[in-house]
């Protein structure tokens, strides 16, 4: 019983982070219909940027965090500006292909600058733990979970209630319509990539602080893809729930069946969900008027 509780908790913790990364994925898909396969590698780079402030420059925790977020935003906008903007107006598939190869470039960049060995772990939160009943929660886990949920909530509120969020949803519907109203599609896309970069950075920091800063962090991006698809590619709420679900499945399967089975089973679940609900649980159905 205690084993199950432990598994569920760690599944939810990881799931929140998958959800956060999936959120970045959704953000970009929502405003530009581009599947960003490099999301996991943006997470990797974001994590290393944080390590640069904290580990290399030896800044305190708070300033490092505060610097890493805008740096992550900048990373996203730069990627958009350099690699994707020239392709606006070209077939979508060319942009999607670019994101696949972008992954390799980002991974290469990290290994050239920081090497391929795992870096020293940075603990963001105190190592104390909390006992509720007979469940032990480390404050680290709790903070990671809280931060991930907080970031998600902020993004959902942003989409629903702010002017810019509304404009982003509009851009997803049609670029030409938005331009006819005087709204700069380029600027909006650039900002979406920035926010996605920031979400990836937060995910990367949280993951890095528990797993250590290593190249393997990018695999989380792989799990964010089923999370986003299951939740529905256009839905921030769906991304979170999808993330939690994927986290749970992964952790339960790896706990009871075997470590290696965790990731493949999540993809089997993805296929099953796609068969039943092709738009995911909260995705937007194509509107067809008859």
């Amino acid at each position: 019983m205690e084993f199950l509780q432990k598994i569920i908790i760690s599944g939810l913790m990881n799931g929140a982070i998958y959800g956060l990364v999936a959120l970045g994925f959704v953000l970009i898909y929502k405003s530009s219909s581009v599947l960003n396969f490099s999301q996991g590698y943006m997470l990797l780079l974001g994590a290393y940027i944080f390590w640069f402030f904290k580990g290399s420059l030896k800044l305190d925790l708070l300033p490092s965090l505060l610097l890493a977020m805008p740096a992550g935003f900048l990373m996203g906008t730069l990627i958009e500006r350099i690699a994707l903007r020239p392709l606006i107006g070209q077939p979508l598939i060319s942009m999607i292909t670019i994101t696949i190869f972008l992954s390799l470039v980002l991974e290469g960049l990290v290994s050239v600058v920081w090497g391929t060995y795992p870096l020293q772990q940075v603990h963001i939160f105190s190592r104390s733990s909390l006992k509720i009943g007979n469940i032990v929660l480390t404050t680290e886990n709790l903070f990671a979970f809280g931060l991930a949920l907080g970031a998600m909530l902020a993004i959902i509120i942003f989409f629903r209630y702010t002017r810019l969020g509304l404009a982003m949803r509009g851009v997803a519907e049609g670029h030409q319509i938005m331009q006819s109203m005087g709204i700069s599609v380029k600027r909006i896309l650039n900002l979406s990539w920035g926010i996605a970069g920031m979400a990836a950075t937060i995910g990367g920091i949280l993951m890095g602080s528990t797993l250590g800063f290593q190249l393997g962090l990018s695999h989380i991006g792989l799990l964010a893809i089923p999370a986003a698809f299951i939740g529905g590619l256009e839905s921030p709420e769906g991304a979170i729930l999808g993330g939690l679900l994927i986290g749970l499945i992964e952790s339960i399967v790896s706990g009871y069946v075997g470590y290696a089975a965790g990731v493949p089973v999540t993809f089997i679940v993805l296929i099953l969900v796609m068969l039943i609900r092709p738009y995911g649980f909260f995705g937007l159905e194509k509107i067809e008027r008859v």
């Binding site: 002017r163 509304l166 949803r169 509009g170 997803a172 519907e173 049609g174 030409q176 006819s180 709204i183």
Partner: protein, 262 residues
């Protein structure tokens, strides 16, 4: 105020669509642009609003002047910010957004938040939209969607509003209602409105001045009332023969008169 001189437009650097179009729109008036399919009406509007550039089109010769400044090289966003707003053909709503969200995006370029006031203005013009404000716009009827796209453009308080076939696929009663509102909007805001239409009768009755396009050229222009009396317009656009009667189909092999302007 808005003036096109010898504008030539090419798509993809090869297909010549406009061959030297010259137009001048008077401030505060409604003007109509008539013509059959492929005459270049939509292209003319897109050349003015800059949306041409999103479709590999380009103004290759001539000038478009607005308030004394050349605008043919500006991007669509900059042109819209100067007050020229195009309502595209085919009821282009942002389908997954609600009616009110669509309208709010229409007013996006005005940062000084009068949005509540502007929304009320649009709901005043189109009271049909009030009960639908929180509905997903993609599921509205054709007439409601057309009202929404026009209302969305009104939110921007355009100095020049370019309307591309607002009557397309709508019932005559709804067309009348929409045009009545366009006329009221013109009277209240004192702005310039350019209407592109295939429905010549409606367009001539609403507008003050009209241009007729064919094959990428302006072939005829004049005050709308005068054009409505023109023999050629009557025969080729209003479906009336020279005596002002309905065309007789008994004499099917009747001599087809050449259009004089060609």
């Amino acid at each position: 105020m808005l003036k096109l001189s010898n504008v030539e437009v090419k798509y993809a650097g090869a297909i010549l669509v406009l061959r030297g179009v010259s137009l001048e729109f008077r401030e505060g008036a409604i003007a109509a642009l008539l013509g059959s399919n492929g005459a270049g009406k939509t292209t003319t509007l897109k050349a003015i609003s800059g949306l041409l550039k999103t479709e590999l089109g380009e103004v290759t010769a001539g000038a478009i002047e607005y308030q004394g400044q050349r605008i043919e090289r500006l991007g669509p966003e900059q042109i819209a910010k100067r007050g020229i707003i195009q309502v595209m053909e085919g009821r282009q709503v942002l389908g997954h957004l609600t009616v009110e969200e669509n309208l709010r995006l229409g007013g996006y370029i005005h940062r000084n938040n009068n949005s509540r006031q502007d929304l009320d203005m649009v709901y005043d013009y189109f009271p049909n939209l009030v009960p639908l404000r929180n509905h997903t716009s993609g599921y509205l009827s054709g007439g409601e969607q057309q009202m929404l796209t026009i209302g969305r453009a009104m939110m921007a308080h355009p100095k020049v509003m370019l309307l591309d076939e607002p009557s397309m696929g709508l019932a005559p009663l709804i067309v009348d209602e929409i045009y009545a509102m366009i006329r009221k909007f013109n009277a209240e805001e004192k702005n310039t409105i350019v209407v592109v239409e295939q429905n010549a009768r409606t367009a001539l009755s609403v507008s003050e001045y009209a241009y007729v396009m064919e094959n990428g050229r302006i072939v005829l222009d004049g005050p709308s009332a005068k054009l409505a009396d023109n023999e050629d317009i009557k025969e080729f656009y209003l479906g009336l023969s020279n005596l002002g009667e309905k065309k007789s189909y008994r004499e099917v092999k009747h001599y087809k008169r050449r259009k004089r302007w060609l």
